[in-house]
């Protein structure tokens, strides 16, 4: 399936595989951690994986002929970094509130709305 791709030089595929691996690590972290901050760390990993993909696609879409350089992927990655920082701030404020009310950070204990 992927046999025709040249593996000796670093290409787009290498970055995509690394991004996929980071994404899966973040997903497993989100699913297995019971500490709410651990879940937040998993979200950060997933966002980083998406950023790797964005920047790699941006880099390999520069066409060599006319020398035009698009920076859309890098700008998107920058917005993702800003939104990740904002998301972390709000999430930690919510976790602090949760800790103040339940005096634990275990997400399994947040079952007030469970029927």
């Amino acid at each position: 399936m992927l046999a025709q791709v040249d593996y000796s030089t670093i290409g787009l595929l290498h970055f995509l595989i690394l991004g996929a691996a980071l994404f899966v690590c973040g997903l497993i972290t989100m699913l297995t951690k019971r500490n709410a901050i651990g879940i937040l760390i998993g979200v950060e990993l997933v966002l980083n994986a998406a950023n790797v993909n964005l920047v790699a696609f941006n880099r390999y879409s520069w066409s060599a002929e006319n020398g035009s350089i698009l920076l859309t992927g890098q700008v998107f990655a920058m917005f993702v970094i800003v939104l990740a920082a904002a998301e972390a701030a709000v999430a930690l404020a919510i976790f602090l509130n949760f800790y103040n009310n339940f005096s634990t950070i275990d997400v399994e204990r947040a079952d007030n709305l469970k029927g």
Binding site: T9, C25, T32, K33, I37, I41, I69
Partner: protein
């Protein structure tokens, strides 16, 4: 023979594998570590490795932003959250075995599906296959022009969002000791 090896193993490949190894090993450390402080430190190394990859992709400004905002800002925020929300830094919650099994199975299926899907992405005609040996550079002011030209409206919206988040986070995290229920 030695020349062939020297040709194929150039500096960029070696640097890629070094940074990718740093990022991947510490990402696996994030998954496996049960101590939340160690998890955060592993995330720091992952972020540093990804910043190195940005350098290899000739996104120098983004690498600097990654180190300053992520490793310097967001991670410190997470460490502060750990300090404020845990009775002892070594408190840990074990997930159930069934949950771990389901998560790992789901992750592996997703990984295989993603790698299978890369074939069409790679052979799309929009992407150049060969990397130029000399790194293609762009002037740094182009990034600023794009950010304040084509993406001016999202840029301003993001600034308003940051202000909102700052006020909202300060309001949410405000200590309300009198309302607190006893443990």
């Amino acid at each position: 023979m030695a020349m062939m090896v020297a040709q194929t193993v150039n500096m960029g490949s070696v640097l890629f594998y070094v940074f990718a190894l740093i990022a991947l090993v510490s990402a696996i450390g994030v998954v496996l570590s049960q101590n939340i402080v160690r998890t955060a430190v592993c995330l720091l190394f992952t972020l540093a490795g990804v910043a190195g990859l940005y350098l290899l992709l000739s996104a120098e400004f983004l690498a600097a932003v990654q180190l300053v905002v992520y490793a310097g800002g967001t991670l410190i925020l997470i460490i502060f959250g750990v300090m404020l929300t845990s009775k002892s830094p070594f408190s840990r919650f074990q997930p159930r075995r069934v949950e771990v099994a389901i998560a790992i199975a789901l992750g592996l299926v997703l990984l295989v599906m993603l790698i299978m899907g890369f074939d069409s992405a790679i052979h799309s005609r929009h992407f150049v296959q060969e990397t130029s040996s000399q790194a293609q550079r762009y002037p740094m002011d182009k990034l600023g022009q794009v950010l304040l030209g084509d993406y001016l409206v999202p840029f301003e919206v993001v600034s308003v969002l940051l202000l909102t988040v700052m006020i909202g986070a300060a309001y949410l995290a405000k200590a309300r000791r009198r309302e607190r229920k006893g443990p």
